[in-house]
């Protein structure tokens, strides 16, 4: 079993163009969620999202590619034998919204081929879709490929847009917040979408040493489980998330009390956050465990969310600090003492990050400080 290391990580969101900029602004509890200018929401009850403001200047170019290019530029050169895992989930929205007036329909296979071409990589790899847990599952699969010796280096890459297509869909499901996104708040009332992209390079130790990469963190364990409950609603007892975390703990050979911080999915919807709090209670009992969500700051970035959050976890491990949860005013009862609208410090070296998605999927990663 080979160890798997995070060796490069880049993100871009409505809050900032780099991981460092995002971290700094999130530490100040800033939020990029604001009024939607790019499409009309007059007849809806929901008018907010987080946008990368200079992204949509040219309607003829593919905005997912533009966003992805920004993280690939930050990643720079990567080993030639790197395999690609693409985890963006709604890359066809612009094609559909344009009235099909683009050069191709932009299927996921087109994106992974595009990424491979951009990086001049031969192994175009695969794309993974696990709804809003896609990046998390992508990182897990990447780890598995390195762990087994099949690959030495895998780039997990994703971008998704706060599109009219998805905004209208979540609006129809009444899953959006009419006001401020408040993860784990007593008065939370929904999510907001956000533009976002991430690229994360995982390698084995030999590849990291050969290329003189800094070890940013070690992916110790992962778990993916379905709750077999409902296609758009999570099991209220968190059974799927519990199973995913238990599997990750088993793989990492850790006990729950050895997890020192938790980056939650924390969308800000009543049901998701309630499910997560039920799972946290079952898994961690009365353990002192700081938790946080970044979706009040950058919105829900769909397929990119898991990678963005994993990158922020690397910063959290480095700084021994979890981010403030933007939007939080009064914590839900089960979250009291764990979540805060200001930064919290923690001791220890293991952080847990999880995401859950439509179709009942739940995914968990345990990252150890390198």
């Amino acid at each position: 079993m080979r160890e798997v290391f995070f060796t490069k990580a880049a993100i871009t969101t409505g809050l900032g163009g780099t991981l460092h900029e995002n971290w700094q602004k999130m530490m100040s509890a800033e939020s990029a969620v604001g009024p939607i200018d790019y499409f009309n929401t007059k007849r809806l009850d929901y008018h907010n999202a987080s946008f990368v403001n200079d992204l949509r200047l040219d309607p003829k170019v593919n905005h997912v590619c533009v966003l992805t290019e920004r993280v690939l530029d930050q990643i720079g050169e990567i080993p030639a034998d790197t395999s690609i895992i693409w985890t963006g989930i709604k890359g066809n929205a612009q094609f559909i919204e344009s009235g099909q007036k683009m050069d191709k329909p932009y299927l996921p296979v087109h994106y992974r081929e595009w990424v491979a071409n951009q990086l001049r990589i031969e192994n175009i790899g695969i794309e993974v879709n696990a709804a809003c847990a896609s990046s998390t599952v992508g990182l897990a699969l990447a780890a598995q490929k390195i762990n087994s010796g099949e690959c030495h280096s895998v780039l997990v890459c994703a971008a998704d847009l706060a599109s009219r297509f998805v905004h209208n869909g979540f609006s129809a499901l009444k899953a959006l917040s009419p006001a401020t996104v408040r993860p784990f708040d007593k008065n939370r009332d929904g999510l907001a979408l956000g533009d976002g992209a991430a690229a994360i390079l995982l390698t084995d130790k030999e590849t990291a040493e050969k290329n003189d990469y800094t070890l940013l963190g070690c992916l110790k364990g992962w778990g993916v489980a379905n709750d077999a409950n409902h296609i758009t609603g999570p099991a209220r007892d968190g059974c799927g998330l519990i199973l995913a975390v238990e599997n990750a703990l088993k793989m990492a050979d850790l006990k729950a009390n050895e997890i020192e911080a938790f980056c939650a999915h924390g969308t800000g919807t009543v049901y998701n956050d309630g499910m997560e709090l039920a799972a946290i209670e079952t898994l961690f009992g009365d353990k002192d465990l700081p938790i946080f969500s970044v979706k009040g700051a950058i919105g829900h970035t769909l397929g990119a969310a898991g990678s963005i959050e994993a990158a922020l976890c690397l910063m959290a491990l480095k700084e021994k600090t979890v981010l403030p949860t933007s939007g939080l005013i009064e914590a839900e009862d089960l979250a009291k003492g764990r979540i805060a609208n200001k930064a919290q410090t923690f001791a220890g070296n293991n952080i847990l990050t999880t995401n859950s998605g439509f179709g009942g999927v739940n995914a968990a990663l345990i990252i150890e400080k390198a």
Binding site: F39, N40, T41, K42, R43, L44, W86, I89, N92, I96, E97, Q100, K104, P105, L107, P108, V109, I126, E127, V128, N129, A130, A131, A133, S134, V137, L141, Q144, K145, N147, S148, G149, E150, C151, R164, F165, H167, N168, G169, S171, A172, L173, K174, G223, V224, A225, N226, D227, A228, N229, H230, I231, T232, C239, L243, M251, F358, G359, G360, V361
Partner: protein
């Protein structure tokens, strides 16, 4: 590195333009062109699946083939949830359903957008529906295929999962539903439509249809012949 773990094929099911069937029936499978002949719920589900009628075509097609595969493997029924994974390869995903949903968003700034149709605009919803009905709690997600791979990446990923010991049974296969729009973009050769799933397991069973393994990231029959797609397992 790359220790070989032999995996058993416990069953298989398919739906194509020529009909539907199971691996055990030893019918001549034919991936003929044309729209898949999606079976009615009563033809495949022993317990009523009342939501089946509301599924989009992609989800109906996938659920039907997964049901046939599980039935073939004797794993159709269970009183308890069980850690079986489902990995689906797809090129076109649920694109047709995306288009149908988008039509509902066009008027009045999206005021009349359909929540039910939006639910089916993710390619993994078919797995969610199957997981609910068959009580499956293992890893569940879709992986892409190149245009001519027909389930190869799901097979590889399923074998990787089994090899890692994360769970001991996985349903893996291919699903591509009707998508008229792509006739504009892809050659007619790429217009393959249908669903094929196999049940792979590291557990012993009384009915085993074959043995396969993963070596250096590639799938092989026990004979040493490389598997190119799930078609190789069903034909």
């Amino acid at each position: 590195m790359n220790d070989i773990k032999i995996i058993n094929i416990l069953g298989g099911g398919w739906v194509s333009a020529s009909g539907f069937g199971k691996l055990s029936e030893k019918q001549n499978f034919n991936l003929s062109s044309g729209l898949p002949q999606i079976p009615k719920a009563k033809e495949i589900f022993s317990e009523p699946l009342t939501r089946y009628g509301r599924f989009d075509q992609y989800t109906k097609l996938g659920c039907a083939a997964i049901a046939l595969a599980l039935k073939d493997a004797g794993l159709e029924e269970s009183k308890e949830k069980r850690p079986i994974g489902v990995i689906v390869s797809t090129v076109y995903e649920c694109f047709e359903s995306d288009m149908v949903f988008y039509e509902t968003t066009k008027d009045d700034d999206g005021f009349f957008s359909s929540p039910n149709l939006f639910s089916y605009t993710l390619p993994g919803i078919v797995i969610g529906e199957s997981a609910i009905y068959f009580k499956l709690t293992g890893p569940t997600f879709t992986v892409g295929d190149a245009f001519d791979q027909i389930g190869r990446n799901a097979l590889i990923t399923g074998l990787e999962i089994l090899k890692s010991g994360v769970c001991d049974t996985v349903v893996a296969g291919w699903l591509d539903g009707p998508t008229e729009i792509f006739k504009r973009f892809e050659k007619e050769d790429n217009q393959k439509r249908g669903a094929i799933f196999v049940v792979l397991s590291s557990c012993k069973s009384t009915n085993i249809y074959g043995h396969i393994y993963l070596k250096n990231g590639l799938p092989y029959f026990e004979s040493g012949r490389e598997i190119q797609s799930v078609l190789d397992l069903i034909m």
